[in-house]
Symmetry: D3
Subunit: 319 residues, 6 copies
């Protein structure tokens, strides 16, 4: 049985070598990446039977995406589009150490997924799944993806498939007000909300401590679970009126992209297994810390590694 279905856009990520810049580089590392496929892949590697739904051009570039996901053990439910009319989104990523920030240039307008409609997708997969996950990026892509997101969430609701949603606010896609309005529209369909505290404040206009924000979000929108992440400072969760605090694990960052997705993958992997929020939160934080040591969008991390971090013994040469 399928444990987890995710829905969203996956792009080709183009990255110059370390120390090189987009305006000078002669080479890109290329790897597919996208919030929802990152979660599907990360969860799959942690033992979750995962399916990813999306739309891709029927070309070597679309195949490149599917290959990567299959390699991570994810099954794909892809609507294949005519490559003459539908492109694959890309994004350019330049890693920069302090004080130069990591920079992302999106080239995702008019990608195939912006035209995806529910009838092109194997919606049945959602109905048979334990959980359905998508993020705030998908409804930002086009009116069509917004409508499809809503339809899929409704399908999940109807089928008693629990839903999780990561706010994933992207200022390069829309402004806070438009985003907030859309979010609020979708929230009634969401069981578990994951959001950075920062976005809860800036986009959802919440004030107060993380605990206060979690309570106010849960109260206003009826979430079963709220998880607020605070980067290096850890995460706060609210579930069944209980508050859980989880510090972040120490980590040496090789590639920060995908940390939040690894967190979600870890959290869902444990919740799907039936673990409680407390355990899932610790596991999520450990998965996120491990992700940062691995290149690429995807958390190529195995359960025993997460468990070793939780058990605080992952740090030596094993030989």
């Amino acid at each position: 049985m399928t444990d987890l279905v995710t829905f969203g856009e996956t792009m080709l990520r183009l990255t110059p070598p370390a120390g090189d810049r987009l305006e000078t580089t002669d080479t890109y590392d290329v790897q597919p990446g996208g919030a929802e496929s990152n979660v599907a892949c990360g969860a799959s590697l942690l033992g979750v039977d995962s399916v990813w739904l999306s739309k891709l051009p029927k070309s070597p570039l679309g195949q490149r995406v599917v290959r990567e996901l299959r390699g991570h053990g994810v099954r794909t439910g892809v609507a294949w589009a005519d490559p003459d009319d539908h492109r694959l989104g890309t994004y350019y990523l330049e890693h920069g150490g302090t004080p130069r920030g990591t920079n992302v240039i999106y080239d995702r307008a008019d990608s195939a997924v912006t035209t995806v409609t529910p009838d092109e997708l194997p919606v049945a997969a959602i109905k048979g799944a334990e959980r359905f996950y998508t993020s705030g990026i998908t409804p930002a892509l086009s009116p069509t993806t917004l409508a499809t997101t809503r339809t899929l969430l409704e399908a999940a609701r109807e089928a008693d498939t629990r839903t999780a949603f990561d706010l994933n606010y992207r200022s390069k896609l829309w402004d806070p007000d438009t985003a907030a309005e859309t979010y609020r529209d979708l929230f009634p369909l969401i069981d578990t909300l994951v959001a950075p505290v920062r976005d809860a404040r800036n986009v959802l206009d919440r004030e107060g401590t993380p605990i206060e924000i979690a309570h106010s979000l849960a109260t206003d929108h009826g979430f079963d679970t709220v998880v607020l992440t605070r980067g290096d400072s850890g995460a706060t969760a609210l579930h069944a009126d209980e508050i859980y605090e989880q510090p972040a694990f120490e980590t040496e960052t090789f590639d920060a992209i995908g940390t939040g997705d690894a967190f979600v993958a870890g959290f869902l992997a444990r919740r799907i297994r039936g673990d409680d929020v407390d355990t899932a939160l610790e596991y999520a934080a450990a998965a996120a810390s491990l992700k940062r040591t691995v290149g690429g969008d995807v958390a190529v991390i195995r359960p025993e590694e997460v468990e070793a971090v939780v058990a605080e013994s992952g740090d030596e040469i094993s030989r």
Copy 2:
């Protein structure tokens, strides 16, 4: 004084390593490429003072293009566009040996250049130049680029700047009939036409031998010079009622992309210098053969190398 002005689109070209495929690769070599900048760069390296006109997003990606062209000695007249609304076109190139063909996937729709208007460009540069060059790709990009192409050709005409045009028919951009109609519309503004015999036949509907086709094109459209290329079989030129035949030079191909542009660069370099069609044609063929030994779109070739090939002595270790 400027010798040559070219106008057209330059994209980022993304190429997997030799033997690797687009659907499996983890790396791209990246280099800007586009017919008209290839000609500007090739000509510049052969001693021609060259300017390239276009429109680019004001981003590291746009800068990447300008850097490359400047490196080849080309001055750039760029209309800088807001990168939030204007993208840079890309193209994916997969080299394949026999029997697997070289494959190109364009991702150039809606690139910044498709919105370029004459008032954004330093048209005065054309008026002060000896020659103006563009190709059949540019008018195919958008109605706007078609209109701008026409305006620039007219500006050249008015200023007695001689014009050259390479048919460069791309079946992935438009169909033969639409292309032919556009071509015919622009031909009265063209002095020198360069075209593959194949396209003269399939797109311009010409029949007969290359010589017959050259005569019929010149007669119908009043070209000063017609150059018909035949790949490995060389080229045929018609100028002032004289026919010139030029065989291709032997070459070991490392990268075939840009061969035609190298040919044009070599031809124009010599014509601008005042050499006659005969000499320019031989020089063009030699430049084209050298290009194929060099990776990337641009013919990184110096005059003494072309001359050595013409003198048939370029083939040994010089030490």
Copy 3:
């Protein structure tokens, strides 16, 4: 429904860069490779629903193999072994142009697969499949793999799953006499035999023309189909008393390893689709010629590419 099940060993293939040697190199390209997974992958990319059966150490190295196969669309039926006791075989491959031969050093002794027994494998997959394929390498690995090969072939026979067998004689694994004895023992379980003419002569002691050899093998062992390959000179097939001759397609070789497996993949892909031997043979030869342009063991080739070669038009730049 499963179209094709294959069974055999897959190793990590370690290759120095072009022009470098095993005794000097500082880098290996690494990619999984093995005759039976090569066939499964090649067939999968050509549209065949494929499953690969084998045994691997439960380690990142074993996962590396599974990832690759999944990427090519193959489902895997793997017996996972304790990595402390079971290794993954490797092979070192040094490409060499004329007159230096390509050299292979096997390091495959005592690999996990040498201990595989039928009860560890999902044998039911074979029973539900259209075809089962294995090669002469597998029974050479250990008495256990010989026994398992026999059991799986018998299972196929019982289930009316048609069987194919590539002789794949490897002088580094066993001597001709031992090999021949084993082959003869397995032949009654085989429907389609593929063999290089050279091995038919040297190992199976056949004499005469390829046609004579095909007839004599079919007569002696009751094969439904015999395909004899002759490298550059093409292939000869015998089926239902009909002889089919297929020349090889011209090709520029980037990586010769896996050519035979691509041939088999192409042949089976078409036979599974219901095409006749004639068509399948031409398709096989085209797939083999394309494989040689691609790096790695696996024929990363799509049906439209094979068809283009068959239609003799695959050789130009498509743009």
Copy 4:
């Protein structure tokens, strides 16, 4: 109008990959580098119209240098030398983390620039410029470069082009006493002196705090501005009897080479724009901190990035 002219040697910098050593490596990254072209390039990228003067062999190696500088937007005034008699200097750079120091091996003796005379250079460019910059490396190269340095500084003085000079003491080129004597000889022609405090102490024999040293240098040599750098501890400037203190910005070092040149580029960029010393100093320190995150000699840094660091907000993922 030209803002900045610089004069000095540019070499090919040869660097093994990270973690590799000069005595074992099989690869070099190669990039042109030299204090004065680093300043010209860095300033150009920060919006300054820059020209670099030097002498190079007329060979692909000399062209390699010119290409790089042009790519950064610098115009070049090069005296081209016969490559049979004039070499291009190189330097080998080995990065080493603590406690292994970064190591530089110069191979710059007898390079083309050591023979450069004023009449070979477009000295007029200096006369029309806002600022002229050279460093203490140039006069150390040969008696000829010393004489030419003096002549160019005098030309600047005459034309009211303001002059800047970075001490850049290199113990591998000369001893402190010879250096100091030369410096003192040139100081009357200098408006802005930049020097590490360490060299002010060890080479110029100054004692006391940075403030005391700045005052004593200004008093003795009549500098308009003195900037003393102290590595991680920031910089101290004296101008118009005012002292300015600037701490260094936090930075993760990828490549420390060129930090001082980035500092000068940033400082001059703002001074040329008309900003006061205070602002220029902060900008210089920010540019220097950014440089350390980028590979190569040149500070490939854009104004908005420097401004972001100054505004202390450059540290997050922008997406």
Copy 5:
């Protein structure tokens, strides 16, 4: 005259690029590595005339090992084995930052060296040497290597060649009890014992402070010298009833593998030169800190670099 003879296994070490994982990588860096050859190479580069004894398959892979050692100046006394029956051991190394540990997968079973007997080796080399070194890895490989280790140690003893032994306990090779029994059996033949405190506690069952452990080991087994290492915390030595304490030097780690071997190489290099334990210990710690900045198993470090660290001045750019 030979200063140092070492005996042990050298494998090919296969390492993915930084940030990549064994289960996803397409490339390995390959370099020979093994405790005893690491010590021989490190010592050789520090000026010691060194010989390494072992057994290798007579193949390009065996040659790869010998080449590397010769490059470091080590002479090799190799028993060449038939490559059809004897393999070269390999090990897969995945570097991981905190919290992901560095991971090693051995594939060394049945390597050629496991069959090495004294009569295959130039034992005379030991007799003429100043010191003989081997480690606790060698006797763990096979009963044959255990017997050979014993014989070589006895040969050294007889010839008054001083012996050094690094415990090098590897939990992937044997369990603590078996190891301890073997160690105790060999200890009477050892003059200098080097061991991590951790292993002294866990494997040799010692309790107390490092000083107490050193005393108890020396007393029980009659070692001339005991050196206990404590990673970041330095080392403690006991010699002639004197205790020496040495802190570790600060270091930025590029590659931690081989740190202990660099320590031993540094220690032996100075002891062989006649320096006392105090000096040798400081030199050893400095060599170990330098090793961590260099990629690969071997400490490619020169005496002047070690001396610079000891003199605490190794940390700046030298130019």
Copy 6:
């Protein structure tokens, strides 16, 4: 006992990747190369005990050279020079396919070896050797190397060490007349002369067929053996009044540099072993053909590979 001593310069060879050019490249492959060390290395790998004499800067660059040679099994007799005053020569190599020629740029002036005197070298090594080899490059480097070459040849003569000399005329080092005069001066000290027919004609002013030239050279200068090479057309030898003709073997060229040195290495390896000229010539031609398939200056070729080519069976996949 030493079989072969060679004397000459070894440089660092800097090569851009295939398809890249010196004026654009960002990377060099680096490997030591020089005619006399190429011969020593090639011969060593073919089983000859070889020593190379030269002078190098005592720096990581000098060590880089020694490491490479030691890796190939060559012992080195190096006069170590102060790196502050003595540089290591380099050469830039750009491979180019037809019609672009391979290009070499020397940067070897004033290298350490140009100052080498006999008293710095272990001349005794020559006296104890079977053969001494140097080439026409060495005397061209400086008057000092010319004098030292003469002295070493005389030392060989006195000791009955047979001498071999490859003309190796380099037009970038001297003109034909100066070269010829020097050659004629050294010829009386030479037993075996190897020369390209082309140079025999152009530099030594010989006319006629290769056979006539061989006779005239032997007659005029008293050579024991004359070997004239003709590239693709093979070689002609004269020894004891006997003429031997050897065609070239077919080869796919990866790197043509060092072909002549591989030829000499193969020839001397067999002559030293006592084989006659006929056998040595065939072996030489086979070694040369193999060299061209290997990257770098050195023929990394083993005797069994040469023998396989001679036996015309080296061309298949061995597995």
